[in-house]
Symmetry: C2
Subunit: 110 residues, 2 copies
């Protein structure tokens, strides 16, 4: 086997995509595409429970996809980099062409 990319490198890269690969996290990233939002606004926009949103935000924060800023008693989140939005846009565009396949994909149940 060639194994051009070593295991650790692959793990890190796949981890980055994990940030995008759950509907709840994706809805958060989506909401932040327009403008920074407080946790409360994110909860409102996504319909997630407070603790669930907070958990996912922690995950996205750890992975460096979003950045948190404390403003008084509020915490405002924004996308860490334009490329996060770029990846979302690219996926959206790609999906427009392969959507049927994804719909028909039965390997993932959720």
């Amino acid at each position: 086997m060639l194994l051009t990319a070593n295991k650790k490198e692959l793990a890190v890269r796949s981890k980055l995509f994990r940030g995008f690969s759950d509907s709840s996290r994706l809805s958060i990233l989506d909401a932040l595409r327009d403008k920074p939002l407080t946790v409360g606004e994110i909860v409102e926009a996504t319909g997630l429970s407070q603790s669930n949103a907070s958990n996912h935000l922690g995950c996205l924060r750890d992975c460096g996809l979003v950045v948190a800023e404390q403003n008084g008693r509020y915490v405002t989140y924004h996308l860490s980099d334009d490329r996060v939005g770029d990846i979302l846009a690219l996926a959206e565009s790609l999906l427009a062409d392969v959507a049927r396949g994804v719909y028909e994909c039965t390997r993932y149940n959720q």
Copy 2:
């Protein structure tokens, strides 16, 4: 709650990212970036077991990220669209800047 994107749409988009979010599948996509490969070559390049590689290929195929072509008794796979490679490249570039965060991310264990 605003819920600008409905549940089904989010599920489909997050599903697309699932294709990228596992090291085994990512190693397959990575291998196919250079050129089309047969299943055997993919197994060789990634070090995955035959059945595991085949399962993941089925997943990637269903989701429309790769395309299979039967050539005699071989099946050759290639990326379905340039944007698949583009997403990989964008993520790689983004990772160069946020890698530390991803390394330190403890929410995912693998």
